[in-house]
């Protein structure tokens, strides 16, 4: 059980540790704090986007212990002690992940709002299944809505990343 602190107004706050992108953050949160908001407002990790906030659009996708979840439907206190990867943790040593490079090169980013969630869903897929088929890619990103409807390029980009072709074929 995490430590509970009660302020002079009787509001309880929980001392929790979130392991985000390899860094342990020990922070105080209210019981009703949503993970998306804690990541954005308390940890300044604003790459995680807020869309529908009801688990439909996938723009708030983060990896919880390596698995994609809608962070808008997770209480921060429930994630105490767990490993979280946000879009900020996908690149390593200043270099973009192959999926990110591929998305840039395939023009798979339009307004960009769905992109962080798309990249994380794709990352989880390629970690589990390094050589997916096109239907497997489509299924993996089915929980991420792109309102620009840029799915064709997104799917191409993920497939290309899985095949080591981050530069697009000539169109």
């Amino acid at each position: 059980m995490s430590q509970v602190l009660t302020d002079k107004d009787g509001v309880k706050r929980y001392l929790i540790t979130l392991n985000v992108n390899g860094d342990a953050h020990t922070i105080l949160v209210k019981g009703n704090a949503i993970l998306t908001n804690v990541l954005r407002d308390q940890l300044d990790l604003t790459g995680t986007k807020k869309g529908c906030e009801l688990g439909d659009c996938g723009s708030c996708t983060v990896l919880l212990d390596g698995k994609p979840v809608d962070s808008c439907l997770v209480l921060a206190v429930e994630a105490d002690g767990r490993e979280i990867t946000t879009i900020e943790g996908v690149s390593a040593n200043g270099a973009l992940d192959a999926i990110q490079e591929s998305m840039i090169n395939h023009a798979a980013v339009q307004c960009g709002y769905c992109t962080p969630g798309m990249v994380l869903s794709a990352k989880a897929l390629l970690t589990r299944n390094p050589h997916p088929t096109e239907p497997e890619v489509r299924e993996a990103i089915a929980g991420n809505l792109c309102r620009c409807t840029g799915y064709v390029h997104i799917v191409e980009a993920v497939l290309a990343a899985s095949q080591g072709r981050v530069t697009p074929d000539d169109h």
């Binding site: 209210k30 209480l75 206190v77």
Partner: protein, 289 residues
């Protein structure tokens, strides 16, 4: 988005959770995967005084086979764990397939089988196939425990027989004689859509006859429902396209769907007829799929 305030509890064991729920009574709401509870709290449909999180109860988060009992699924098992379970895939692929049609990966990694049952909504995708496979459930409280057939758990739209203080802890699929089962769901999209109508069946094929069949409809009545007239008609009958079509007609006639934004009652009756016929044929020809 606004989230109401609540008192948060994290019992460490099942008995601690039961004691807490007994003490809090109707003031407590149980939090499992959160995909439904937090959604309801955000849209203002639910504002519990106490939220009892089950996150520490790893004892009811596993799938195992017990000799003489069958496959026991902990209520906190999430949908992704169900569709990724080698044990379930090997024995009753129909259940992983049903879990897989339910929602996006993000939701399947959070939502639990227990939540899908306890919510009691008629469009839930797991109860139909579980009832077709004769599943039983175990309810535990501070004062004891009881087991019942899953089909006896539902008593109305979003109404179940669970009492305040009771927790659904496990679902058991008994070892069985069925030769095939399947769940066919018709949604408005391939992914992330609720069932307009769904049909789960299990069959026991013996030679060219159906020794037994179970037909369970989703989104076809205020509760998940068995089409008993269709089952009675099929029992002992020689398998033919005509017999399966008649079973579809009987299932549709027994259904009591409502008009909703996802489909009219008339449309849903038609779906029940066609999907029943298709599901029976699939389970007869292909086994547990």
């Amino acid at each position: 988005m606004y989230m109401p305030d609540f008192e948060y509890h994290t019992p460490r064991t099942l008995s601690e959770a039961c004691a807490l729920l007994a003490e809090l009574g109707e003031k407590a709401t149980v939090l499992a995967g959160g995909t439904d509870i937090l959604h309801k709290m955000k849209v203002g449909k639910l504002a519990p005084e106490h939220l009892v999180s089950l996150k520490n109860l790893d004892e009811i988060r596993e799938i195992r086979h017990e000799a003489g009992r069958g496959i026991v699924i902990g209520a906190l098992t999430n949908h992704a764990a169900i569709y990724n379970s080698p044990l379930l895939q090997e024995r009753y692929l129909s259940l992983p397939m049903a879990a897989h049609t339910m929602a996006s990966t993000q939701i399947c990694n959070l939502g639990t089988v227990g939540g899908n049952i306890v919510n009691g909504v008629p469009s839930a995708d797991l109860p139909p196939i579980l009832i077709a496979l004769q599943a039983t459930i175990r309810l535990v409280s501070a004062s004891g425990e009881r087991s019942m057939a899953l089909e006896d758990f539902f008593c109305g739209a979003a109404e179940t027989v669970i009492a305040p203080g009771e927790l659904l802890t496990e679902i058991t699929i008994p070892d069985q004689e069925t030769t095939g089962s399947t769940y066919i769901k018709f949604g408005l999209r391939r992914s992330g859509a609720l069932a307009v109508t769904g049909v789960a069946v299990s069959v026991c094929v013996e030679g060219d006859k159906l020794r037994d069949a179970r037909i369970v409809l989703a989104s076809a009545a205020p509760t998940v429902m068995r089409a008993t007239a269709a089952e009675d008609f099929l029992r002992g009958r020689t398998i033919s396209d005509e017999a399966l079509a008649e079973a579809g007609t009987l299932a549709a006639a027994a259904s009591r769907p409502r008009d909703s934004i996802r489909g009219s009652a008339e449309y849903r009756k038609n779906l029940a007829e066609v999907l029943t016929k298709r599901a029976l044929r699939k389970a007869i020809d292909e086994g547990h799929v």
